[in-house]
């Protein structure tokens, strides 16, 4: 199994940390992982994206042009990455702020109202974990228990009290995916 994923949105949405938690979860189930950010003179409000690969085998290129899954969290990223999903691949997006919805006919498309659900939970910081939950519904490549282990390993001890809230957000995401187009 190899899953090549791009996560793209605004800086500050938790794109990079979501990728990191996904990668850590892969390690917890003995997979090879890579996490390649777009880095540069970027700032809050600018675009941010990260390529995450989980694989049972040695990973070749950490830099990719085509993806199995794109997780899209703003319009700029939709414009940039919709075309880069492999035929038969998967697009998961949050419709919040999206003015041009995806148009591809040869991919699976799912929606998750992450921003709205985070507001409902009263904590906008849970946004990226809701999205991660949505991804795990569509592509259950890592087990939630391994995400929990990943959080325990990657977060400093003083933040461990936040893990139950994050798991709750992931569960909410798992339960809130809407099918738009399934091949």
């Amino acid at each position: 199994m190899t899953e090549e994923i791009i996560i793209a949105g605004f800086g500050g949405q938790g794109v990079l940390s979501m990728g990191k938690i996904l990668a850590y979860s892969g390690i917890m189930q003995d997979q090879e992982v890579s996490w390649m950010p777009s880095y540069g003179p970027e700032m809050r409000g600018g675009t941010a994206n990260v390529t995450v690969i989980l694989s049972d085998d040695r990973i070749s290129s950490p830099v990719l042009k085509k993806f199995d899954t794109a997780i899209i969290l703003n319009q700029q990223s939709m414009d940039k990455f919709e075309a880069d999903i492999k035929p038969g691949g998967t697009l998961l997006y949050d419709p919040n702020g999206i003015t041009r919805h995806p148009e591809r006919k040869d991919i699976n498309i799912f929606k998750i109202p992450g921003a709205a659900l985070a507001a409902e939970m009263g904590n906008p910081k849970t946004f990226n974990m809701i999205i991660l939950g949505g991804f795990l519904n569509v592509k259950p490549i890592v087990k939630v228990e391994n995400v929990k282990k990943g959080l325990e390993k990657s977060l400093p001890e003083r933040h461990h009290k936040l893990i139950p809230l994050n798991i709750e957000a992931i569960q909410k995401g798992i339960d809130s995916v809407e099918n738009v187009q399934v091949l």
Partner: protein, 361 residues
Amino acid sequence: MGDVRLMKGNEVIAEAAIRCGCDGYFGYPITPQSEIMETLMIRKPEDETGMVVLQAESEVAAINMVYGGASCGKKVMTSSSSPGISLKAEGITYLAGAELPALIVNIVRGGPGLGTIQPAQSDYFQAVKGGGHGDYKLIVLAPASVQEMNDFVDLGFELSFKYLNPAMILSDGVIGQMMEKVELSDYKPRWTDEEIEKISGSWATNGKKAGGERNISTSLDLDSAKQEVFNHKLQAKYRAMEENDVRFEKIACDDADYLFVAYGSSARICQKSVELAREKGIKVGLLRPITLFPYPTKQIQEMLGQVKGILSVEMSAGQMVEDVRLAVEGKVPVEHFGRYGGIIPTPEEVVEALEEKILGK
């Protein structure tokens, strides 16, 4: 399994330095390698192993602090990115001229000049052919994964003490900034004064022993006849490196009709290109030089009876391709493909270049 983590290449360099018993790091910040010193400052190894971490006032100061530490037989290192390495070039050739072991890490960014902060491999000539003045060579290691960033810190020190010659880890912003799974090395204690005396007592400047000769650490000899003899000695050392310490990796070469030659992050991209090309029925393999000096010249030559053409892939306008051509001596076509100025090629682009430049499609 040992201590497995998800870490950035740059962070791993710092962690590996602490764990391999490094005595001192002297640096000056520059993107995209600032996490090396940042991680060391956060880890405060002085409390744990006694390793000194110092932000010098400039790159020139940092490399001369390395010279000082190395002269005392200590395991010392510095790191920078391209423009900073240019500033350190004088110190690096002095280290080579004084036959001092040290580790220098270059997380390359696009140039020339201040250039960009994005990844590039345009410092190959500087690392392999000189950079500083005089007939000298560095041992140059090119990691292609975060795991190798860990492994090559220890290996770099090992080789630099074996040959009494500075070693360089030549990497770039791709490997430096990305995170991968890494199994960290076990801790090795720093050398005691007694161990340093045993390992390096014949040359380290740790004080004159009663009845013994003074050790002098210098790269100056005004007597040309002596300087030539010394240069012969250096050249013999470089030939010994070529004989004994070439490192490389071959991927999908057994049945290959064509060959990519690529190092570091380009080699990772080419691994994907090998997969994509083979899906199209093009039998291509990858030869990855791990040591850029000494270069795997013989290993490339061994492929010549088998492959019909070679594409050298680097994030530069074509530097390593010269060493590939020197190895091949015109026996098969050798072409270069590169993106540069901070642009990373995609695996698909590399396959297109192979088809266009080598297969003639």
